[in-house]
Symmetry: C2
């Protein structure tokens, strides 16, 4: 009973990621998602209250992934954490084709839909705080030079997002994975106290 149900739910989620990514939230119809998942509309609305609820479920899963990634680097030093991020970049840009446009979709919906915004803004601010405290910690450790942690945090996030966006628009315009790695190196280097 739960077996089949769970599978259906997963199929819907996967199809939604695929279609939201390629066509966008509005253009991807519920019918499309059902067809892609190979299920009926009834099954869809059995599992999700609405199209928006499905989107929120997707967002939730994404945020949980980030959370657990952050949690994994809890006990490391500030520079170590940043270095770990550098190693994560290849993976991110490799799997970009599938999930990355979803990131833009989250952003866009959040900027328009109050419910989705509420679900996004709290984690975003949490991440910002996390980065800020990470840099603060690095400064306290003496491994980072004196910088405004707030500002540095915004800039790091900005760089990451900006590169993601550029790679999205022009995937073949550059070796993005390499650009991302070198950028991180450059940023961390300018932070490091030598």
């Amino acid at each position: 009973m739960q077996q089949r149900s769970e599978e259906t739910r997963t199929k819907i989620l996967d199809s939604a990621i695929k279609l939201f990514s390629t066509r966008g939230f509005n253009a991807a119809s519920v019918d499309d998602i059902c067809e892609e998942a190979g299920i009926s509309k009834g099954a869809f609305y059995h599992h999700f209250e609405s199209k928006q609820a499905l989107f929120l479920a997707l967002l939730d899963g994404w945020l949980q992934t980030i959370d657990s990634a952050i949690d994994a680097s809890k006990d490391k030093t500030a520079p170590e954490t940043f270095m770990q991020m550098t190693t994560a970049f290849p993976y991110i840009f490799e799997t970009a084709g599938d999930g990355l446009p979803m990131f833009l979709e989250f952003w866009l919906q959040a900027s328009r839909d109050k419910t989705i915004w509420d679900a996004s803004i709290a984690p975003y601010r949490r991440y910002h705080k996390y980065f800020t405290s990470l840099i603060k910690k690095g400064v306290a450790e003496g491994s980072f030079v004196e910088v405004d942690p707030e500002l540095a945090s915004r800039m790091i996030v900005a760089t990451a997002m900006g590169l993601l966006l550029q790679s999205l628009l022009d995937p073949k315009g550059a070796k993005w994975e390499k650009v991302a790695r070198e950028s991180t190196n450059l940023l961390v280097n300018s932070l490091l106290n030598k």
Copy 2:
């Protein structure tokens, strides 16, 4: 006769910016735009072949604005040009409320719609080249330190876009105009040969 016609066209363009920004390309219907502009559907389709054609006209105007801005700083030195951009930030973030979401909308549509992508990608690559040569020039002048101009260009654009995006998601989360100015200072400073 031409007078009124021109006015109608402008009204459509203005209303489109407003509605595309607030609701997005898909959600903003032609009927909505007509109502906002205070004109009829017949008038709309008299001026624009399709909804997409209107979007392309908007994109074109935006690109021209950027082009002329770039053109204006043709004969200045590299650091001067960057400094000029710093002074432009307050204006950009002031008027962000209106036109900024349109920028995201352009991006999103370009990543999905082949026609719009074609119209976007050429200018984007031109801007990237411009930045790259600007940095190259700065290095040649001796005013910039030795950096990979390609990489630095991507990073500068990334930072700008990332900050814009963050300000879009969380307008009241920070004094974005200040963050942008300080970020530019920081970036230019790390580029400057002292």
